[in-house]
């Protein structure tokens, strides 16, 4: 990779892509380069993935490499584990992260543990893709991110792109990784026709392959007063909040965590050592999750630097359906502004 991830907007790239186009770009390139890479999931052939995660692949690859599968997540996610252990590079999609419940054993007892349990005698070079997130009133069983659940269970790397540039680079890195990688794409960022996305995730994306290293956070906006660490959709909300706060003279630094496992503690620490104030924003349940983990890492390593801290997350309730209720529990730009003001 020739240029820093935080600077995707320059370097002579004039091709702007949505996040879904960038993700598919990387998948197609990996499939072209390696016959052992294949994609399976529900509605990934003629539909192109409900959230456009495979849109267009069937034009270039046959139905054995872009495979529709029965609604049997245990069987096909487990089959990806087996094919990966046989040396292939499968990508398996769980249509919504919420559906992991029906196949959790294959994910956390098999995919995630086989490397360790075997003392690295086997490894599982697969990618598990899944759509996450809410803010379109799809209610309790179709709106979760479950970032913390996947990250809590050891043995899988977890990445969450928030821009097209990162989506492509992280997908290349995920397919090439010799370990299982969970690649979580936020529905609201994909740039799907029927689900309008904010402008931010659409970025210049180089034609050539490049990787965004797994385990590196990215400072999406530099600032000296308050650190906001977040991921996914809420990177864009934090950037909006930072713009508003800038008008009031508050200079916010926005860190896109981008990888949850492995976690880039250094980037967060460096920022907090500069600002002394930390707000962690997450579209997952607050307790026992990502926000608590980030705060704990900073508190362990730099307790003296941390003058004030706030968390903004889903307040430990299932995601409600009705619009005013979902808006209440899912962190909004105003909630981030208020949290920054409260630590400021």
């Amino acid at each position: 990779m020739s240029k820093p991830a935080s600077d995707p907007g320059t370097g002579g790239v004039d091709r702007e892509l949505t996040m879904s186009r960038a993700m598919v770009d990387a998948i197609a390139s990996e499939m072209r380069a390696d016959d052992e890479v294949f994609y399976m999931g529900e509605d990934v052939q003629d539909y192109g993935g409900i959230f456009d995660s495979t849109e267009g692949l069937l034009e270039e690859f046959d139905r054995d490499r872009v495979m529709d599968v029965p609604i049997s997540e245990t069987a096909y996610v487990g089959a990806a584990v087996g094919a990966a252990q046989a040396g292939m590079r499968p990508i398996a999609e769980i249509m919504f992260a919420d559906f992991v419940g029906v196949c959790l054993d294959q994910v956390y007892n098999q995919m995630a543990k086989n490397t360790y349990m075997s003392g690295s005698a086997v490894n599982v070079p697969m990618v598990l893709t899944t759509a996450v997130g809410g803010e379109y009133n799809d209610a309790a069983q179709h709106s979760q991110t479950l970032y913390g659940l996947f990250s809590h269970l050891p043995g899988m790397q977890v990445v969450v792109p928030s821009t097209a540039y990162d989506a492509k680079g992280l997908m290349h890195a995920a397919v090439r990784s010799d370990d299982p990688v969970v690649y979580m794409f936020h529905k609201r960022l994909m740039g799907i026709g029927w689900m309008p996305a904010p402008e931010g995730p659409k970025t210049p994306v180089p034609e050539d392959d490049y990787t965004v290293p797994i385990g590196e956070a990215d400072v999406k906006r530099e600032g000296g007063d308050v650190t906001v660490a977040t991921l996914g959709l809420h990177v864009h909300r934090a950037l909006d909040a930072a713009d508003q706060l800038a008008d009031d003279g508050v200079d916010v630094e926005v860190i896109d965590l981008r990888s949850l496992v492995p976690f880039d503690t250094e980037t967060v620490l460096d920022s907090v050592e500069k600002t002394g104030r930390l707000v962690v924003v997450d579209e997952d349940y607050q307790s026992f999750g990502v926000t608590g983990e980030v705060v704990a890492r900073v508190a362990e390593r730099s307790p003296d630097a941390l003058e004030a801290v706030e968390r903004v997350a889903i307040p430990d309730v299932p995601i409600p359906y009705s619009r005013p209720l979902e808006t209440e529990v899912n962190p909004q730009v105003e909630d981030i502004v208020a949290a920054v003001e409260s630590v400021e």
């Binding site: 529900e42 609604i71 029906v102 009133n137 209440e328």
Partner: protein
């Protein structure tokens, strides 16, 4: 022979369900124009409508009482109507209102009406185990109520369904599994994902009867369900009922169905179980004027429910924090309750 009054009631429910889906479609799309935005308009989120599935709902539920349990999947409205779910409060729920069945928390895929023992869930096949549980409760208490689990033909490859068949069979529980076979699981045709000619054959491996109703016909469903529900009620164990229906709309609203051959969509429009039942009623001496009257009654009922629902208040945002537990120790110690 099915009595003409029963047929009349089934017809009325079918036209109510059809009208309901047509009107919800209109309401849903309002505010999503000109560019479709799933989160805009008076009904947000995904919406799975069941036009073309009505025969499977009314033919089975005609044999059920309020005490009998029904679980439905992500496409639940027609089954809810046939089971007697409160139409006003169901509609208010779909519009996300405070007086909805679930106070606006559940939404269209998660409707609960304990008064008539109806529930649904948006995760494929996951209504099957709770239906087995309702049957287990009836069995343990020596009650004669039964449970019915509805699912699509795409759901039959899910562990929760197959495990439920086995548990129900081995315990001889009063359950009827009703597969609504509309040939499609979103964009996946049945023969791409399930390698049997008919889903009814699945029953063979579980030592239970598997019955196929191969045409979309309310009377045929009624007759097959009479045996299946009767068998369950009499303590003779579960049945798998596999009913051919037709998907007259997209999988969800906004689905342009680019994957679906035109002939298949046209066929679904042509083979209309409601028209078929109307013909049967005419043969049994019910005249067009009376059928027209039944349709108008249904239209009025639907219109009243929608009007009532839209006049209901939206929930107070603070309510989002309630109902995680019925008995919340933290709230109790706060002294508010």
């Amino acid at each position: 022979m099915v009595g003409v009054n029963t047929l009349r009631e089934m017809y009325e429910q079918m036209v109510t369900a059809r009208r309901y889906e047509q009107r919800l479609q209109e309401e849903y799309l309002e505010g999503k124009q000109p560019a479709f935005d799933i989160s805009a308009g008076p009904i947000p989120g995904e919406l799975h409508l069941a036009a073309g599935h009505e025969a499977a709902a009314v033919g089975v539920c005609a044999h059920l009482d309020d005490e009998d349990t029904v679980t439905a999947p992500h496409r639940p409205h027609h089954v809810a109507i046939a089971k007697g779910v409160d139409l006003d409060r169901m509609t208010a729920e779909i519009f996300g209102r405070e007086t909805g069945l679930c106070k606006g928390k559940g939404g269209h895929m998660h409707l609960f009406d304990p008064d008539v023992n109806f529930a649904c869930s948006g995760i494929i096949a996951q209504g099957c185990p709770p239906a087995v549980g309702a049957a287990m409760a009836a069995d343990k208490r020596n009650e004669d109520s039964v449970a019915v689990a509805y699912l699509g033909e795409g759901a039959v490859d899910q562990g929760a369904f197959l495990e439920s068949l086995n548990l129900a069979a081995v315990r001889e529980l009063p359950v009827v599994f009703v597969v609504e076979d509309n040939d499609w699981a979103i964009s996946m045709p049945q023969d791409r994902i399930t390698d049997v000619d008919t889903i009814a054959e699945r029953a063979d491996g579980f030592d239970m009867p598997g019955v196929r109703v191969d045409h979309d016909d309310a009377i045929a469903v009624y007759e097959a369900a009479r045996d299946a529900v009767g068998r369950a009620r009499n303590g003779n164990g579960p049945t798998l009922l596999d009913v051919q229906v037709h998907r007259r709309m997209g999988h969800f609203m906004g689905d342009a169905e680019g994957y679906r051959p035109d002939e298949d969509s046209e066929r679904a429009q042509r083979l209309d179980a409601i028209e078929r039942l109307a013909d049967d009623l005419r043969d049994r001496g019910v005249d067009d004027a009376e059928l027209q009257e039944l349709r108008e009654l249904a239209e009025d009922r639907v219109e009243d429910a929608i009007e009532w629902a839209k006049a209901q208040p939206e929930p107070d945002p603070a309510d989002a924090h309630e109902d995680v537990f019925v008995d919340d120790p933290a709230a109790a110690s706060g002294g508010d309750d």
